[in-house]
């Protein structure tokens, strides 16, 4: 599904990614861990096509397409979804209007029928159960006045509606209390199928107690320095990152 080779990228002339390799197949759950500044968030933004970041080397293939030849919109329409670390507020734009526009854009891209507001409401009322949100969130402005946890749940609601092939969750667990973490994790788990995949970017092991990864990667200095199974995360929790950094 996704194959990244020797990816290098910089922001404002500063090299952040220095040769990242990663292969994600359908049905897999990956976790990318690492300390602040290791390049994990940059990696997710580069894959999604954030305009601040420049790819300076390497390749990425997504669903058989050259990822870096696609605009951010095209990547999204191909099935790449990024759950933002800091979801933005869009004053005056209702959650349901945004969701419906995004949904219908994808439907028309896939040659499927667009839904009118009433049909869409039926769909979204079903999806909203995934994140245990109240229906009144749909009529509120996107993320405006939402708590940190509500914003993150709202990201997962968007994921539920758009049903991406590959979802990258950028520190979706940060700032969540234990109940919100459980809800978000249950939501993500319920969306996993044999045809899609999830990449979680996180500092902490605790999210991985809820969403169990097939692979754990440790990023440091703009590279993936260690890859292992879910037990690697536990080892990191116990020993910290320093032993790996020294080894690298």
């Amino acid at each position: 599904m996704l194959e990244v080779k020797n990816l290098m990228a910089e922001v404002g002339g500063v090299k952040i990614l220095k040769g990242v390799d990663l292969i994600v197949r359908s049905g897999e759950v990956h976790a990318i861990m690492g300390i602040n500044g290791s390049g994990k968030s940059t990696f997710s933004k580069v894959l999604a096509g954030h305009p601040d970041y420049t790819v300076t080397g390497g390749t990425a293939t997504f669903e058989g397409k050259d990822l870096f030849a696609l605009t951010p919109e095209e990547r999204a329409r191909t099935g790449l979804f990024l759950a933002f670390q800091y979801p933005v507020e869009i004053p005056g734009v209702s959650n349901s209007a945004l969701l419906r526009l995004a949904y219908n854009t994808l439907q028309s891209e896939r040659g499927l029928e667009e839904l009118d507001p009433l049909e869409f409401e039926d769909l979204v009322l079903e999806k909203i159960k995934v994140v245990e949100m109240d229906a009144n969130f749909l009529s509120r402005s996107v993320n405006e006045g939402f708590s940190g946890g509500e914003k993150k749940r709202n990201e997962i609601l968007q994921m539920a509606v758009l049903e991406p092939k590959l979802a990258i969750l950028d520190e979706t667990d940060s700032g969540l209390d234990i109940d919100a973490l459980r809800i978000v994790a249950n939501g993500v788990n319920s969306l996993l199928t044999a045809d899609n995949a999830v990449v979680m970017v996180t500092h902490y092991q605790r999210l991985l107690n809820y969403i169990v990864p097939d692979y754990v990667h440790v990023m440091d200095g703009g590279r993936i320095v260690r890859t292992g199974g879910k037990e690697l995360a536990l080892e990191l929790e116990a020993r910290g990152y320093d032993w790996l950094r020294a080894a690298a």
Binding site: A48, G49, H50, P51, D52, T71, P72, E73, R75, A76, R77, F81, L82, F84, Y86, P87, V88, I90, P91, G92, V93, A97, L98, L101, A102, T105, L106, E109, S141, Q158, L162
Partner: protein, 478 residues
Amino acid sequence: MSTALHNLVNQPYKHGFVTDIETEVVQKGLSEDVIRLISKKKNEPEWLLEFRLSAYRHWLTMEEPSWASVTYPKIDFQEIIYFAQPKPKKQLASMDEVDPELRRTFEKLGVPLHEQKMMAGVAVDVIFDSVSVTTTYKAKLAEVGIIFCSFSEAVHEHPELVKQYLGSVVPAGDNFYAALNSAVFTDGSFCYIPKGTKCPMDLSTYFRINTEGSGQFERTLIIAEEGSSVCYLEGCTAPQFDTNQLHAAVVELVALDNADIKYSTVQNWYAGDENGKGGIFNFVTKRGLCKGVNSKISWTQVETGSAITWKYPSCVLLGDNSIGEFYSVALTNHLQQADTGTKMIHVGKNTRSKIISKGISAGRSSNSYRGLVKIGSRATGARNYSQCDSMLLGDRCMANTFPTIDVQNTTATIEHEASTSKIGEDQMFFFAQRGIGSEEAVSMIINGFCKDVFVHLPMEFAVEATKLLGLKLEGSVG
């Protein structure tokens, strides 16, 4: 900001065509003779000529105001044509006799003149250059005692009403442009809602400047008697000329006890090209007087056109418990300059006012909110809430806010909120990441930004305003 933002701003003006029609014009320039000639052409009573002449004499002593945050070359008032009218073939007996060329013009603009073809029952008065071309649904409105006609007609048929109220809200010498208008105004709309009558349909005036070099000086007067209510809409367009045209209108509203007037404008005068050549100079005085107790006047405006906008629809809250409202969206692009806002003058007890202003600047434009909230010494218990938000598109435009608050009564409650925002790269990236293209994203963000104002527009106007903002900004985001 990126190219998409730029492209979004470069949508050509759609209403820039000129109607080829025989026009009768009075030679350019202004003098007492020209004023007498206009008055004579319109067969006006002596008192009205006197009103004009005294306004003119006052105007001669006045200075053009320079305090607004706009710059433009000095206007030569002797170079303007003060009267232009489509040559009448004969007296019109019905709509069907309107010059077909004129009819086609308004069809092109989407203004239906045929009563039977009109949608959703909106009565329309159409002003072409200096004169009112037609008023629809007149007879039907007359059945309930509502007078809706051109200003010229009102002067002849209802002189007592015109005489009583003309200049009662905006005195002839109120300001430079109001004085000019009072001297040379040519036509406009007149509307009278009798006691206890709720106007059964929206009333609408559509203004069109056609003749090059002509100014448009119309006068609108709306009187809502005790316990009556009316919803009034105003739309404007002009052809595309390289020269600037002056539009100096005066609108006066009077609301008596328990009366309610809602006045909505979508202003789309030609704004000049992307280099600032041509466009309308829009210097307008609009004021409503809440004369009676519990009366209410509400202004809603969507300002997207004109090279220069100088406009402050205001409310004088004289009656106890009266309410004034101002909801505004002003969008400027290219080299447009807008200095617009409102004045809320609280005189009576327990008067309330609300101001919601949304300014959007793109290109190299300048967009200023200027407002005055004045609480007089007798206005016990007065309240005001103001909210002024500005949004910047790109990094070469400007937004200013000049609020003035003058409180002379300690029981007043005043709230003022202001914000300035930019369409952030993060917002644009968020939309892109959800698969939504940049133009749709900007349109959605802008409409969200303006939502608090759009909800106060009548349905058709809200749809038109939404489309208009989209068109105006096309290509300005990326």
